[in-house]
Protein backbone atom coordinates (compact mmCIF):
# COMPACT_ATOMS: atom_id res chain seq x y z
CA UNK A 1 0.00 0.00 0.00
CA UNK A 2 1.52 3.28 -1.10
CA UNK A 3 1.27 5.93 1.57
CA UNK A 4 0.63 9.41 0.20
CA UNK A 5 0.95 12.68 2.07
CA UNK A 6 -0.30 16.06 0.88
CA UNK A 7 1.83 18.99 2.02
CA UNK A 8 -0.05 22.27 2.18
CA UNK A 9 1.81 25.40 3.30
CA UNK A 10 -0.54 28.08 4.61
CA UNK A 11 -0.11 31.56 5.95
CA UNK A 12 -3.25 33.45 6.97
CA UNK A 13 -5.50 31.34 4.75
CA UNK A 14 -8.36 30.72 7.21
CA UNK A 15 -10.85 31.58 4.47
CA UNK A 16 -9.52 29.01 2.00
CA UNK A 17 -7.74 26.26 3.91
CA UNK A 18 -10.88 24.33 4.94
CA UNK A 19 -11.95 23.96 1.31
CA UNK A 20 -8.44 22.90 0.28
CA UNK A 21 -8.33 20.12 2.89
CA UNK A 22 -11.88 18.99 1.98
CA UNK A 23 -10.99 18.78 -1.72
CA UNK A 24 -7.89 16.68 -1.13
CA UNK A 25 -9.80 14.27 1.10
CA UNK A 26 -12.63 14.16 -1.45
CA UNK A 27 -10.08 13.18 -4.11
CA UNK A 28 -8.71 10.40 -1.89
CA UNK A 29 -9.65 10.00 1.79
CA UNK A 30 -6.58 7.83 2.46
CA UNK A 31 -4.19 10.75 1.84
CA UNK A 32 -2.70 12.27 4.97
CA UNK A 33 -3.17 16.02 4.67
CA UNK A 34 -0.44 17.96 6.44
CA UNK A 35 -1.04 21.69 6.70
CA UNK A 36 2.12 23.59 7.60
CA UNK A 37 0.96 26.75 9.34
CA UNK A 38 3.62 29.42 8.89
CA UNK A 39 2.72 31.31 12.06
CA UNK A 40 -0.62 32.65 10.85
CA UNK A 41 -2.25 35.38 12.89
CA UNK A 42 -5.74 34.17 11.91
CA UNK A 43 -7.56 30.87 12.53
CA UNK A 44 -5.75 28.90 9.81
CA UNK A 45 -4.42 26.08 12.04
CA UNK A 46 -7.73 25.62 13.89
CA UNK A 47 -9.74 25.54 10.65
CA UNK A 48 -7.29 23.07 9.06
CA UNK A 49 -7.44 20.74 12.07
CA UNK A 50 -11.25 20.95 12.18
CA UNK A 51 -11.36 19.75 8.57
CA UNK A 52 -9.22 16.73 9.39
CA UNK A 53 -5.69 17.85 8.57
CA UNK A 54 -2.56 17.13 10.58
CA UNK A 55 -1.27 20.59 11.46
CA UNK A 56 2.39 21.50 11.89
CA UNK A 57 2.55 24.91 13.56
CA UNK A 58 5.76 26.82 13.00
CA UNK A 59 6.69 29.01 15.97
CA UNK A 60 7.36 32.02 13.75
CA UNK A 61 7.11 32.90 10.08
CA UNK A 62 9.87 31.08 8.19
CA UNK A 63 8.74 31.82 4.64
CA UNK A 64 7.12 29.57 2.07
CA UNK A 65 10.22 27.46 1.36
CA UNK A 66 10.99 26.76 5.00
CA UNK A 67 7.32 25.91 5.59
CA UNK A 68 7.13 23.47 2.67
CA UNK A 69 10.41 21.84 3.72
CA UNK A 70 8.91 21.19 7.16
CA UNK A 71 6.34 19.08 5.31
CA UNK A 72 9.03 17.22 3.34
CA UNK A 73 10.85 16.42 6.58
CA UNK A 74 7.61 15.13 8.10
CA UNK A 75 7.08 12.97 5.00
CA UNK A 76 10.63 11.66 5.20
CA UNK A 77 10.61 10.96 8.94
CA UNK A 78 7.15 9.36 8.89
CA UNK A 79 8.13 7.10 6.00
CA UNK A 80 5.69 8.26 3.30
CA UNK A 81 6.27 6.87 -0.19
CA UNK A 82 4.79 9.73 -2.18
CA UNK A 83 4.19 13.41 -1.46
CA UNK A 84 2.08 15.98 -3.24
CA UNK A 85 2.38 19.66 -2.57
CA UNK A 86 -0.46 22.16 -3.01
CA UNK A 87 -0.80 25.79 -2.05
CA UNK A 88 -3.04 26.65 0.88
CA UNK A 89 -4.88 29.40 -0.95
CA UNK A 90 -6.96 27.06 -3.09
CA UNK A 91 -5.42 27.90 -6.46
CA UNK A 92 -4.49 24.27 -7.07
CA UNK A 93 -7.42 22.01 -7.95
CA UNK A 94 -7.09 18.74 -6.00
CA UNK A 95 -9.21 16.93 -8.58
CA UNK A 96 -6.19 17.30 -10.92
CA UNK A 97 -3.96 15.37 -8.51
CA UNK A 98 -4.54 12.27 -10.64
CA UNK A 99 -2.46 13.80 -13.46
CA UNK A 100 0.43 14.55 -11.10
CA UNK A 101 0.30 11.29 -9.17
CA UNK A 102 -0.09 9.02 -12.21
CA UNK A 103 3.50 9.12 -13.52
CA UNK A 104 4.93 8.93 -9.98
CA UNK A 105 2.85 5.91 -8.97
CA UNK A 106 3.60 4.23 -12.31
CA UNK A 107 7.33 4.72 -11.67
CA UNK A 108 7.81 6.83 -14.81
CA UNK A 109 8.92 10.00 -13.02
CA UNK A 110 10.46 10.99 -9.70
CA UNK A 111 8.91 14.44 -9.74
CA UNK A 112 5.89 15.74 -11.63
CA UNK A 113 5.27 19.47 -11.76
CA UNK A 114 1.86 20.90 -12.57
CA UNK A 115 2.47 23.38 -15.36
CA UNK A 116 0.08 25.93 -16.80
CA UNK A 117 1.97 26.05 -20.08
CA UNK A 118 2.60 22.49 -21.33
CA UNK A 119 -0.32 22.96 -23.69
CA UNK A 120 0.13 26.33 -25.46
CA UNK A 121 -3.63 26.50 -25.89
CA UNK A 122 -4.13 26.33 -22.13
CA UNK A 123 -6.39 28.97 -20.70
CA UNK A 124 -3.98 30.70 -18.33
CA UNK A 125 -2.88 34.20 -19.41
CA UNK A 126 -1.10 36.00 -16.57
CA UNK A 127 -0.35 39.74 -16.79
CA UNK A 128 2.46 40.60 -19.21
CA UNK A 129 5.24 41.23 -16.65
CA UNK A 130 4.51 38.03 -14.78
CA UNK A 131 4.28 36.04 -18.00
CA UNK A 132 7.70 37.35 -19.07
CA UNK A 133 9.17 36.51 -15.67
CA UNK A 134 7.79 32.98 -15.75
CA UNK A 135 9.12 32.51 -19.30
CA UNK A 136 12.60 33.85 -18.53
CA UNK A 137 12.96 31.60 -15.48
CA UNK A 138 11.67 28.61 -17.45
CA UNK A 139 14.22 29.24 -20.21
CA UNK A 140 17.06 29.65 -17.71
CA UNK A 141 16.20 26.48 -15.80
CA UNK A 142 15.79 24.54 -19.07
CA UNK A 143 19.20 25.75 -20.22
CA UNK A 144 21.02 25.09 -16.93
CA UNK A 145 19.17 21.86 -16.14
CA UNK A 146 19.33 20.32 -19.59
CA UNK A 147 15.61 19.55 -19.90
CA UNK A 148 12.76 21.70 -21.20
CA UNK A 149 10.65 23.05 -18.36
CA UNK A 150 7.65 25.28 -19.04
CA UNK A 151 6.56 26.45 -15.60
CA UNK A 152 9.14 26.78 -12.84
CA UNK A 153 7.07 28.99 -10.54
CA UNK A 154 4.38 26.38 -9.98
CA UNK A 155 3.97 25.06 -6.46
CA UNK A 156 1.77 22.17 -7.60
CA UNK A 157 3.84 18.97 -7.65
CA UNK A 158 4.02 15.29 -6.81
CA UNK A 159 7.12 13.25 -6.03
CA UNK A 160 8.31 9.83 -4.92
CA UNK A 161 10.60 8.92 -2.03
CA UNK A 162 13.71 10.14 -3.91
CA UNK A 163 12.11 13.56 -4.33
CA UNK A 164 11.01 13.67 -0.69
CA UNK A 165 14.50 12.80 0.52
CA UNK A 166 16.13 15.36 -1.75
CA UNK A 167 13.82 18.21 -0.78
CA UNK A 168 13.96 17.34 2.93
CA UNK A 169 17.63 18.30 2.71
CA UNK A 170 17.87 20.66 -0.29
CA UNK A 171 15.09 23.22 -0.42
CA UNK A 172 15.52 26.99 -0.67
CA UNK A 173 13.96 28.94 2.17
CA UNK A 174 12.41 31.81 0.26
CA UNK A 175 10.85 31.85 -3.23
CA UNK A 176 11.84 28.20 -3.61
CA UNK A 177 10.10 26.80 -6.71
CA UNK A 178 12.46 27.95 -9.47
CA UNK A 179 15.65 26.92 -7.72
CA UNK A 180 14.15 23.65 -6.48
CA UNK A 181 13.32 22.67 -10.07
CA UNK A 182 16.95 23.19 -11.09
CA UNK A 183 18.24 21.34 -8.02
CA UNK A 184 15.97 18.40 -8.89
CA UNK A 185 17.29 18.28 -12.45
CA UNK A 186 20.91 18.57 -11.37
CA UNK A 187 20.40 15.82 -8.80
CA UNK A 188 19.26 13.49 -11.55
CA UNK A 189 15.56 13.27 -10.67
CA UNK A 190 13.39 12.26 -13.63
CA UNK A 191 11.14 15.26 -14.08
CA UNK A 192 7.81 15.25 -15.88
CA UNK A 193 5.22 17.96 -16.37
CA UNK A 194 1.46 17.76 -16.38
CA UNK A 195 -0.87 20.37 -17.83
CA UNK A 196 -3.05 21.81 -15.07
CA UNK A 197 -5.33 24.76 -14.66
CA UNK A 198 -4.92 27.08 -11.71
CA UNK A 199 -7.73 29.04 -10.16
CA UNK A 200 -7.81 32.58 -8.97
CA UNK A 201 -7.06 33.00 -5.31
CA UNK A 202 -10.11 32.20 -3.21
CA UNK A 203 -9.17 34.36 -0.25
CA UNK A 204 -6.17 36.15 1.24
CA UNK A 205 -3.54 38.01 -0.76
CA UNK A 206 -0.58 36.84 -2.82
CA UNK A 207 2.71 37.00 -0.95
CA UNK A 208 4.40 38.44 -4.05
CA UNK A 209 3.81 42.19 -3.95
CA UNK A 210 5.28 44.61 -6.43
CA UNK A 211 7.86 45.81 -3.89
CA UNK A 212 9.12 42.28 -3.34
CA UNK A 213 9.29 41.28 -6.96
CA UNK A 214 12.64 42.96 -7.51
CA UNK A 215 14.17 41.09 -4.58
CA UNK A 216 12.50 37.95 -5.93
CA UNK A 217 14.05 38.31 -9.38
CA UNK A 218 17.57 39.15 -8.15
CA UNK A 219 17.57 36.46 -5.46
CA UNK A 220 16.38 33.75 -7.85
CA UNK A 221 18.91 34.78 -10.51
CA UNK A 222 21.74 34.55 -7.98
CA UNK A 223 20.42 31.25 -6.67
CA UNK A 224 20.25 29.77 -10.19
CA UNK A 225 23.78 30.96 -10.98
CA UNK A 226 25.12 29.46 -7.78
CA UNK A 227 23.10 26.25 -8.09
CA UNK A 228 24.64 25.63 -11.48
CA UNK A 229 28.12 26.08 -9.98
CA UNK A 230 27.43 23.61 -7.16
CA UNK A 231 27.76 19.87 -7.29
CA UNK A 232 24.75 17.83 -6.22
CA UNK A 233 24.76 14.14 -5.35
CA UNK A 234 23.22 12.15 -8.19
CA UNK A 235 20.20 10.24 -6.94
CA UNK A 236 20.14 7.21 -9.25
CA UNK A 237 20.83 4.96 -6.28
CA UNK A 238 17.86 6.32 -4.35
CA UNK A 239 15.35 5.25 -7.00
CA UNK A 240 13.33 2.14 -6.75
Amino acid sequence: MTRVVAIVPAWNEAGAIGGVVDEILAFDPTITVVVVDDASSDETPEVAAAHGATVLRLPFNVGIGGAVQTGFRYARDEGYDVAVRLDGDGQHDASELEKLLGPVLAGNADLVIGSRFVDPAGGYRPPFARRMGIRVFARLVSLLGGQKVTDTTSGFAAMNRAGIELFAVEYPHDYPEVEATLVALRSGLRLAQAQVEMRERQAGTSSITFVRSLYYIVKVMLALLVASLRRYPRLEAARR
Binding site: P59, F60, P172, D174, K219, R230
Partner: protein
Protein backbone atom coordinates in the same frame (compact mmCIF):
# COMPACT_ATOMS: atom_id res chain seq x y z
CA UNK B 1 40.94 63.37 -12.55
CA UNK B 2 41.29 60.07 -10.71
CA UNK B 3 44.80 58.56 -10.91
CA UNK B 4 44.72 55.47 -13.16
CA UNK B 5 46.33 53.39 -10.42
CA UNK B 6 43.55 54.24 -8.00
CA UNK B 7 40.99 53.13 -10.61
CA UNK B 8 42.80 49.83 -11.22
CA UNK B 9 43.18 49.13 -7.50
CA UNK B 10 39.49 49.93 -6.93
CA UNK B 11 38.42 47.65 -9.78
CA UNK B 12 40.58 44.76 -8.56
CA UNK B 13 39.34 45.09 -4.99
CA UNK B 14 35.68 45.19 -6.13
CA UNK B 15 36.17 42.14 -8.35
CA UNK B 16 37.74 40.21 -5.48
CA UNK B 17 34.78 41.16 -3.26
CA UNK B 18 32.29 39.92 -5.88
CA UNK B 19 34.17 36.64 -6.42
CA UNK B 20 34.52 35.98 -2.68
CA UNK B 21 30.79 36.59 -2.11
CA UNK B 22 29.77 34.25 -4.96
CA UNK B 23 32.14 31.56 -3.71
CA UNK B 24 30.76 31.88 -0.15
CA UNK B 25 27.21 31.41 -1.47
CA UNK B 26 28.30 28.45 -3.59
CA UNK B 27 29.89 26.84 -0.55
CA UNK B 28 26.67 27.47 1.44
CA UNK B 29 28.47 29.64 3.98
CA UNK B 30 26.39 32.66 2.96
CA UNK B 31 22.69 32.70 2.09
CA UNK B 32 21.55 34.52 -1.07
CA UNK B 33 19.43 36.82 1.07
CA UNK B 34 22.49 38.18 2.86
CA UNK B 35 24.74 38.13 -0.19
CA UNK B 36 22.69 40.56 -2.27
CA UNK B 37 23.74 43.71 -0.41
CA UNK B 38 27.41 42.70 -0.59
CA UNK B 39 27.08 42.00 -4.31
CA UNK B 40 25.44 45.39 -4.83
CA UNK B 41 28.38 46.95 -2.96
CA UNK B 42 30.89 45.18 -5.18
CA UNK B 43 29.08 46.02 -8.41
CA UNK B 44 28.60 49.73 -7.57
CA UNK B 45 32.25 50.10 -6.54
CA UNK B 46 33.39 48.23 -9.66
CA UNK B 47 31.33 50.52 -11.91
CA UNK B 48 32.60 53.67 -10.20
CA UNK B 49 36.19 52.42 -10.45
CA UNK B 50 36.03 51.57 -14.14
CA UNK B 51 33.77 54.42 -15.27
CA UNK B 52 36.23 57.21 -14.48
CA UNK B 53 34.25 59.98 -16.16
CA UNK B 54 31.19 59.08 -14.09
CA UNK B 55 33.18 59.21 -10.87
CA UNK B 56 34.46 62.66 -11.84
CA UNK B 57 30.94 63.90 -12.60
CA UNK B 58 29.56 62.62 -9.30
CA UNK B 59 32.51 64.17 -7.46
CA UNK B 60 31.68 67.44 -9.20
CA UNK B 61 28.04 67.29 -8.01
CA UNK B 62 29.22 66.72 -4.45
CA UNK B 63 31.76 69.56 -4.62
CA UNK B 64 34.71 67.17 -4.30
CA UNK B 65 37.03 68.88 -6.75
CA UNK B 66 40.50 68.15 -5.42
CA UNK B 67 40.42 64.35 -5.24
CA UNK B 68 37.56 62.42 -6.93
CA UNK B 69 38.56 58.96 -5.52
CA UNK B 70 37.36 60.24 -2.15
CA UNK B 71 33.87 59.61 -3.55
CA UNK B 72 34.78 55.91 -3.83
CA UNK B 73 35.56 55.85 -0.12
CA UNK B 74 32.35 57.71 0.66
CA UNK B 75 30.25 55.25 -1.37
CA UNK B 76 32.03 52.26 0.17
CA UNK B 77 31.40 53.68 3.65
CA UNK B 78 27.73 54.26 2.85
CA UNK B 79 27.32 50.64 1.79
CA UNK B 80 29.09 49.38 4.90
CA UNK B 81 26.61 51.37 6.97
CA UNK B 82 23.74 49.82 5.02
CA UNK B 83 25.08 46.30 5.52
CA UNK B 84 25.60 46.89 9.25
CA UNK B 85 22.13 48.37 9.69
CA UNK B 86 20.67 45.42 7.81
CA UNK B 87 22.52 43.03 10.12
CA UNK B 88 21.22 44.86 13.17
CA UNK B 89 17.65 44.27 12.03
CA UNK B 90 18.45 40.62 11.28
CA UNK B 91 20.03 40.11 14.70
CA UNK B 92 17.00 41.67 16.36
CA UNK B 93 14.67 39.30 14.57
CA UNK B 94 16.89 36.30 15.39
CA UNK B 95 16.92 37.33 19.07
CA UNK B 96 13.12 37.33 19.22
CA UNK B 97 12.86 34.04 17.37
CA UNK B 98 15.46 32.45 19.61
CA UNK B 99 13.58 33.40 22.77
CA UNK B 100 10.37 32.11 21.20
CA UNK B 101 12.03 28.74 20.41
CA UNK B 102 13.44 28.42 23.93
CA UNK B 103 10.00 29.10 25.43
CA UNK B 104 8.33 26.56 23.20
CA UNK B 105 10.91 23.89 24.04
CA UNK B 106 10.36 24.52 27.76
CA UNK B 107 6.59 24.20 27.32
CA UNK B 108 6.94 21.06 25.15
CA UNK B 109 9.29 19.38 27.64
CA UNK B 110 6.88 20.10 30.46
CA UNK B 111 3.98 18.65 28.48
CA UNK B 112 6.04 15.57 27.48
CA UNK B 113 7.09 14.92 31.06
CA UNK B 114 3.44 15.00 32.12
CA UNK B 115 2.43 12.47 29.47
CA UNK B 116 5.45 10.22 29.90
CA UNK B 117 7.74 10.62 32.92
CA UNK B 118 11.36 10.97 31.75
CA UNK B 119 13.84 8.14 32.46
CA UNK B 120 15.98 8.86 35.49
CA UNK B 121 19.30 10.35 34.53
CA UNK B 122 22.69 9.00 35.67
Amino acid sequence: MTPIRASIAGAIASLILILVVVELVRGRRLKERYALLWLATGIVLLVLSVWRGGLNTIAGWLGVTSYPPAVLFAVATLFIFLVLLHYSTVISRLTDENVDLAQRIALLEERLSRERPPPREG
